[in-house]
Structure formats: C-alpha cells, structure tokens
C-alpha cells in the first residue's frame, strides 16, 4: 500500500524517509527553494520553501512526509511571505545585478523573477562586505553570499575538505574560510572541487569565464526556475 500526501489538493505518493520537498520534486511539483539541493543534507536556513502542513508553517526541505498530510504551497499568504523573504535576502547583501557576472544564471535572481518581485521593499543595509580574490582561480564576493551553506556542505560532504563555515549570528553572520590567513588563496580548495561550483548566487565565481555566455542568453533569461529546477533535480532522484 503506497502512502500519499496532498500538495495544493493534488495527491502525491512518497516513500518512507522522504521529505515533503523530495516527494514534491519527484512528483514534478516545484516548491521555491535556495538552500536546498537534493545532493546534500537539508539545511533549512533560507525558509523560502515554507509551506503549510496541516495548518502549521514548516520548511518543506526538512519536514518528513507523513501519510495523509495536507500541504499547501501556493496560497497568496505563502507567496507573499516568500517574496518578503527574498526581498530580505536582497537588502541584507549588496546585490547589484547589472554588475554581477552571475546575472541570468543566478538562482536568487531567478527565484525573485519567479515570485514577480519588482522591488526590494525594505530599506537597504548596504552592509560592508569584502571581496576575496586571493585564489588564482576562484573568487569570493561576500556582498552576494546568502548563507545557504551549500559551499560548506559541498566541501565537507563531497570534497572531504572543510574549506568553509558560517561564523557569527544575525547581522554579524559571515562566511569564513578555513586557512591560517582566512584567505581563500591559502586554503586547499581547488578549482575542480564541488564547493567551487555549487554557489546559487554570484558569491563564489570561477575566474576568467565571466562573460563567456552573453547576458540575455543565460539560463533564466529564457526559462523560469521552476522548470529548470525540476528538470535538474528530478534526475538526482531517478525520477
């Protein structure tokens, strides 16, 4: 007997141990997310995947699917919350898309497009953040980090290296690099590491490839992130 949950009224089967996000992805239902990536342990930090489960809000990427659950994802309230969360991510960092190499290929920007976010709503922090260009092949622009910890997880789980960590809390939270100087150039990250390629934003970039694909011809210039995410992430589940 197969177990099911419903998402926005649609019945969806799941297997034991799956999260709501995993069940949804496998069934072709997109729930907006940024810190979730099916190849890594869920982290539950961005809160973008917030859904209502039997009337209570929780993050779909960390919450286990259970038989008979009623999940609501596409209500006006939740979509409004997601837009506000995304706006907070924009004002907390310094996101000047016209000057960012990742524009058009950026998941943060693409989620914002998907949510039809036309403004940042909140006053901007204009926080002081640094650029670390000390590594010969890789660059970190802390202005664009959203603390999703994907680089942290990729370095630990896939590369076996532990190059990154998040330090501090609240407004003082920042991404740190595990090297004596704190500089990326003195760490043992390599340009072929998963951690160098996982960043959903333009915070970690590979040098000397910026404009190989012209702006206007990039992924999200043509396709919405729901389509792209489902295409890419269902493969990972053999779906």
């Amino acid at each position: 007997m197969s177990k099911t949950i419903t998402i926005d009224g649609k019945k969806i089967p799941f297997s034991e141990g799956q999260t709501i996000m995993e069940a949804a992805t496998e069934a072709g239902v997109y729930i907006p997310h940024l810190c979730h990536n099916p190849d890594y342990e869920p982290h539950g930090s961005c809160k973008l995947c917030t859904v209502s489960v039997n009337g209570r809000n929780c993050t779909a990427c960390t919450f286990p699917a259970m038989d008979g659950q009623e999940v609501i994802s596409e209500s006006r309230e939740l979509e409004h919350d997601r837009q506000r969360i995304t706006q907070m991510l924009f004002v907390e960092g310094n996101h000047f898309c016209p000057g960012c190499e990742k524009t058009g290929n950026c998941q943060l920007q693409a989620v914002a497009y998907h949510l039809n976010m036309l403004d940042n709503h909140f006053p901007h922090f204009f926080a002081d953040r640094e650029v670390d260009a000390s590594h010969p092949d890789i660059l970190i622009d802390h202005n664009r980090c959203i603390f999703c910890t994907l680089c942290v997880r990729a370095s630990r789980e896939k590369d076996g290296k532990n190059v990154f960590a998040i330090s501090g809390r609240g407004i003082n939270k920042h991404l740190i690099v595990n090297s004596a100087s704190g500089k990326l150039g003195d760490s043992d990250i390599d340009v072929n590491d998963c951690a160098a390629h996982i960043c959903p934003t333009g915070a970690i970039l590979i040098k000397r490839q910026g404009y190989r694909i012209p702006i206007g011809q990039r992924i999200y210039d043509h396709k919405e992130i729901n389509e792209v995410a489902l295409e890419q992430e269902r493969e990972g589940h053999g779906g």
């Binding site: 310094n94 000047f96 898309c97 016209p98 960012c100 058009g104 920007q109 497009y113 403004d119 002081d128």
Partner: protein, 179 residues
Amino acid sequence: MADKIRVATTSLAGCFGCHMSFLDIDERMLQLAESVEFDRSPITDIEHCTNCDIGLIEGGVCNSENVHVLREFRKNCKILVAVGACAVNGGLPAMRNHIDLEDCLKEAYIDGIGVENAQIPSDPELPLLLNQVHPIHEIVKIDYFLPGCPPSADVFWKFLTDLLAGREPELPYELVHYD
C-alpha cells in the same frame, strides 16, 4: 475630448539610460502622444513639475537636490514610478556606499589620473552629496517599480498602455530583468 494624461519624468542619480530606453518605443511614441502630454521631462523646458498623473523617476538619491526633486514629484504626481535599477535599489552608483565620501571626492578630484588644478568643488550652488546613495522608496512612497538596467522599451510600453487602459499594470516573466 478628455484631457490628456500628464506625465513628468526626471533623472536623479542615474545615467539617463532609462530615458533612452523609453525613447526606444520608437514609432509607438506617436500613438502615446495621442493620449499623453509631457510635463517636466528632458524634452520640455519646464523646471518644476506641476499637477501630473504619472511621474517616472530614473536614478537613486545621491544629493540634496535629488531629495528635493523627488519630494516635488511625490507632491505633484498621482502615481509615482521607480524606473530602473538605480531608482529601485540604488544601482551601480550605490556601489560607493561603503567608501568614505571624503575618499570618493579625493579620488575623483584630487588623486585621479589626469586631474589638473586639483580641488574639491565647493561652490554654494552645488547640491550637497549625501553619505550614501539611496533607492527612492527610502525617501517617499512609490506606487510602481519597473526593474532593469535599463527596463526595456517594451517594459515602458506594457506598463503605460496597461495604466492608460485602466488596467492594473503587470509585467510578464520575459519583461522582468534586473540587469
């Protein structure tokens, strides 16, 4: 015949790129001119905007004059629209926000390459620079936002034709770009 819709436009801390992009609606401008009349804008010689229906603001706020102009637009326009990345989030001018103002001025007017007769301009007629560049929603209430650097001609067209037809303006996915 009903009165024409009055539109005012201005560029604060912007590069006029958004105005140029607006002009890219090309021959559709003639169609627009049938129902729209321009108040203060670069194509008229009006110094202060008077009662208008729509105010289009390009650029963020970087000096005291920008604050003044923005407040005047808010007072006189029924609908105020933030046009382009600089108006929406400060844009590239806001990249100076974590550099000390004095350092910015020194770099531009004293230490910059090729500067002759180095001095920081201090004429009392010059508007005072603010410490930081701000998006316009931080100063006055804004009714609509058109993102893009610049927003494409089609964005202007879709927005204005929706508004003129009495529809709630909506931008389809292909027209929303932050770059």
